[in-house]
């Protein structure tokens, strides 16, 4: 199957649901997608481009949500989550504790999706920021096969949700006949012995290359793809991780700043048999280096080869 851009598949899913559900609004902060054109044309009353105004995007979405509408608010991930962080905190997270407000944020450009666009467009903080907010769900899919589940989840769970999507076209990791249970929040893609990689989003694609290359050398490492970063089935995940000795978190985010590594560490620390967590991500600095994603990963020591070396070292310990 050829690589797909998740946002197009998700928007198509939402478009189909808008046909049968007149309570859905789609708001954009002047951000588009080929799939959005049909939606804009067919639902001129329920598609609103608020302009280049991410703060107002959230506020208007909250107002519609308070009146019982299901709202999707769509923008570039770093601007959506960071420029309007207080709007999300006040009018979604705080509000959702006292009133129902079903607003679903779709952020495009997770991690280094916008590689050559530079550090303003890199999004290395969003997992930590959104996970921090009570009453907000966080969804971080690794491929387009999740989009139907995500649309259903967002429409039915009646609370704010942040959906972080990669901006690049990515191949599917899950064949239709082997789609994981969405509400579990994770899927075990490879089973191993001593080490388990725990990744999210794009990094699951990298992790799969790592695991398969190591497997050819006789080193079997596990791989867990985490796609719900809040409200996941933690007892099931703890059980899955308990069979390993070392956990390696892999994310396009700053290490030890509240992102995926912190999530994995807090899970294992609260289990009966805590395991060490080795974090793979970006050190405490922004990336001004110009280059494509592969190049930026190489510079940061996150190339497949470098990760394999580190895993071998860990395996030998």
């Amino acid at each position: 199957m050829k690589p797909e851009v998740m946002r197009d598949i998700l928007i198509e899913e939402i478009y189909q649901r808008m046909k049968g559900n007149d309570k859905i609004f789609f708001l954009s902060a002047d951000f588009g997608s080929p799939a959005l054109d049909q939606l804009r044309e067919d639902f001129p009353d329920r598609f609103i481009n608020v302009g280049i105004a991410e703060q107002n995007l959230i506020s208007v979405a909250a107002g519609l949500g308070l009146e019982g509408y299901t709202v999707f608010a769509y923008a570039i991930a770093p601007f959506l989550t960071m420029r309007s962080f207080e709007q999300i905190r006040i009018s979604l997270a705080l509000m959702a504790q006292t009133r129902e407000v079903n607003v679903n944020l779709i952020g495009v450009g997770a991690g280094l999706s916008y590689d050559v666009t530079g550090p303003t467009h890199h999004c290395l903080e969003d997992i930590a920021l959104m996970r921090l907010l009570p009453n907000v769900s966080v969804v971080s899919p690794s491929d387009a096969s999740f989009m139907s589940d995500i649309a259903t989840y967002a429409i039915s769970n009646n609370k704010p949700c942040y959906i972080r999507l990669d901006g690049k076209a990515l191949p599917r990791l899950y064949p239709p006949e082997n789609q994981p249970l969405f509400n579990d929040g994770f899927s075990s893609l490879r089973r191993g012995k001593k080490i388990c990689l725990v990744s999210t989003g794009y990094m699951t694609h990298v992790a799969l290359q790592v695991a398969d290359a190591l497997s050819k050398e006789g080193c079997l490492v596990g791989l867990v793809d985490l796609f719900l970063l809040k409200d996941l089935n933690t007892s099931k995940l703890k059980s899955e991780l308990s069979t390993y000795d070392i956990l390696v978190s892999m994310e396009e985010g700053f290490i030890w700043r509240g992102g995926l590594d912190s999530l994995v560490a807090s899970l294992t620390l609260s289990s009966k048999t805590p395991k060490p967590v080795y974090p793979l991500g970006f050190n405490d600095a922004y990336i001004f280096e110009v280059g494509d994603r592969k190049h930026l990963h190489e510079v940061a020591g996150l190339s497949v080869d470098r990760i394999i070396e580190q895993i071998k070292t860990l395996d030998g310990q």
Partner: protein
């Protein structure tokens, strides 16, 4: 649904309500010295005209009644004077007024929407108008003829997010939206004109495509007339009522003090104003 407030209420009665609310607000200040009392005193006539002057539709028995007008108090921190009104209208028992800021009370120094009668949470400034735009859009989408009212402070106009919403409202012709600016002219540290001067505010709104009304915010009859006119006008434009007020109104020590936002009155000063004896 309560067709709120008495059918006909005289200006004298409205003035008496204002006097009572100022007194109750000062009594609250006595037990909760941290409230923004000067800011709460400037908007008393606005709150009274809306709730006792047959402007707003509301239902204390069903605070989220579909047929209510939506009322957002964007300057939440300066609206403790709304507490006595909500108690008077039956949103919660009046004895709660004696517990403001106390442990376990439903009423804090800054109101939030866990309090019956508060539509949204607005302790942080600059959020109310954008949310109100969403409410106004939703009401139009539903075919609901109720309106959305927002009370905000003039200092709050410094927040950029407010102007994102002001632009949005006129573009989308939200003529079911009424903004009321408590133009008390003082921020926390100084006169607004010395910080970021926005006068004349009317011109700003006019050139952003809004219908504006400018009125003495303490003349209850004129204020009521302006609010009534703004409410009835549906000409494809959002509406703003600029209520020119005095921060700390009714307390000579606060009126005209550029730092009145952060002033707290002494208990004996409050007693002298409310006519109560100092315990």
């Amino acid at each position: 649904m309560q067709e709120n407030k008495p059918e006909k209420i005289s200006a004298t009665d409205l003035k008496e309500k204002c006097r009572w609310i100022r007194s109750e607000t000062l009594k609250i200040h006595k037990i909760a010295p941290g409230i923004r009392v000067a800011s709460a005193l400037s908007c008393v006539e606005i709150l009274v005209a809306l709730h006792y002057g047959n402007i707003l539709q509301f239902n204390p028995e069903k605070p989220y009644d579909e047929e209510r007008d939506r009322f957002i108090i964007s300057k939440a921190h300066g609206s403790v004077s709304y507490y006595p009104i909500l108690a008077d209208l039956g949103y919660f028992p009046k004895d709660q007024l004696a517990k403001v800021g106390k442990s376990g009370s439903i009423l804090g120094d800054i109101p939030d929407n866990s309090i019956p009668g508060y539509e949204t949470i607005n302790g942080s400034l600059g959020h109310g108008v954008g949310v109100a735009c969403g409410l106004a859009l939703a009401l139009k989408a539903k075919g609901n003829n109720r309106s959305v009212y927002v009370l905000l402070g003039d200092g709050e106009l410094n927040e950029g997010s407010v102007w994102e919403a002001i632009m949005f409202a006129s573009h989308h012709k939200l003529d079911n939206l009424v903004l009321i600016i408590d133009n008390n002219k003082i921020c926390m540290l100084d006169y607004c004109s010395k910080i970021i001067n926005l006068e004349p505010i009317e011109d700003k709104f006019s050139c952003f495509g809004w219908e504006y009304f400018s009125v003495d915010g303490h003349d209850i009859e004129k204020l009521h007339a302006a609010l009534a006119e703004a409410s009835c006008l549906h000409a494809g434009k959002p509406k703003v009522v600029i209520a020119n007020t005095i921060k700390g109104k009714g307390v000579p020590k606060l009126e005209g003090d550029s730092l009145c936002h952060i002033r707290a009155l002494k208990p004996e000063e409050i007693d002298a104003l409310t006519g109560e004896n100092h315990p």
